[in-house]
């Protein structure tokens, strides 16, 4: 189904799967251990589920200064706009690539779908400006009366799936028209039937956009860690490109390039490279390298 070199990724995928389970236990009801801890520490009498550590609403609230007080009073909301972006600045958006249950659900399930049934958008669509546009549009719409709604949130859809698996069917028994559209788009069209399984993350996740922005600033300032290609070791085989679920590796004018705005830090590329040319390390130099012409294609 996939190139033989991908078998090298199985132990790595297993580690990522373990971190995803940790993400579920920390953030999702009925466990929500981190959420419970934050709510207990701040004495907030609210139901501990994914809704309390929302990754969408606080980004919208950045454009609504009157909501800053709510974020300070309920610091769980600062996760999306302070904790994760600061982490992304220094170490990259590792939450996306290692812990986000919503992104991993579609990514892992998409590995079970034969590639011939999948849309390959890598290299055909530049996801970065679309995702930034989506984030800005979401923030701007809030000033015109729009309001973040769980019905278009894949994080909430995943919470409803986890709840259903643990016996609470309230979430999956309620289907507003917009819920159906966003679920099908996230889970099927941009998930299982898109190569890499992370079409929604790459194009429509505002939390990923914010982390990508901070990650790229950290890389640009050469402070943060990022995925980099060693020019002297790269053979231009493009196996890394094929393995990248975030469509972050591309060729531009005969150079291989890792786009830190799009990279989600999953590090599949560093494990799949047979020449050890890609590494996740502190940013030191440009990541653009020439692709040897003889080995192109």
């Amino acid at each position: 189904m996939y190139p033989k070199t991908y078998s090298k990724l199985y132990p790595h995928w297993l580690r990522r799967f373990a971190f995803t389970l940790l993400g579920i236990v920390l953030l999702y009801a009925p466990f929500a251990l981190l959420t419970r801890l934050v709510l207990w520490a701040t004495r907030t009498p609210l139901q501990p589920d994914a809704h309390r550590i929302c990754l969408r609403m606080p980004i919208q609230w950045l454009a609504q200064p009157w909501m800053y007080r709510t974020m300070i009073e309920q610091p769980a909301y600062l996760g999306a706009v302070v904790v994760l972006p600061v982490l992304a600045f220094f170490v990259g958006p590792l939450f996306c690539g290692w812990m986000c249950p919503a992104g991993h659900l579609t990514e892992f399930l998409s590995r079970l779908v034969p590639p011939r049934f999948q849309i390959d958008l890598a290299g055909k669509v530049n996801p970065v400006p679309i995702r930034y546009g989506f984030m800005v549009g979401m923030m701007g719409a809030s000033l015109m009366g729009g309001n973040v709604c769980c019905s278009f949130c894949n994080f909430a859809h995943t919470q409803n799936i986890v709840s259903a698996l643990s016996g609470n069917f309230l979430g999956i028994s309620y289907w507003a028209s917009f819920t159906v559209i966003s679920f099908v788009l996230w889970f099927a069209v941009l998930g299982l039937f898109t190569k890499g399984g992370r079409g929604w993350c790459n194009l429509l996740c505002p939390a990923g956009a914010l982390m990508g922005l901070f990650h790229s600033i950290g890389s640009w300032l050469k402070i943060g860690r990022s995925v980099q290609i060693d020019q002297s070791l790269c053979r231009g085989c493009k196996t890394c490109m094929a393995s990248c679920s975030s469509w972050a590796i591309s060729t531009h004018s005969e150079t291989l390039h890792v786009n830190s705005h799009a990279c989600n830090g999953c590090m599949d590329c560093t494990h799949v490279c047979e020449h050890g040319a890609i590494a996740y390390r502190r940013t030191t130099a440009t990541t653009a390298v020439p692709v040897p012409a003889a080995q192109e294609g």
Binding site: Q47, D49, M135
Partner: protein, 43 residues
């Protein structure tokens, strides 16, 4: 200055179109979803 801005916009027009597409999608999704109830099942 204006000439430089137009030159930059011409060079980056595909990115600008993509950004505008995302902008319309993001604001549209938010406005379209606003009228609908939030149901996230908790514990």
């Amino acid at each position: 200055m204006l000439k430089k801005a137009f030159e930059w916009a011409r060079r980056c027009r595909r990115k600008l179109y993509s950004f505008a597409f995302g902008l319309a999608l993001g604001s549209g999704a938010l406005i379209a979803g606003s009228g609908q109830s939030c149901v996230t099942s908790g514990q």
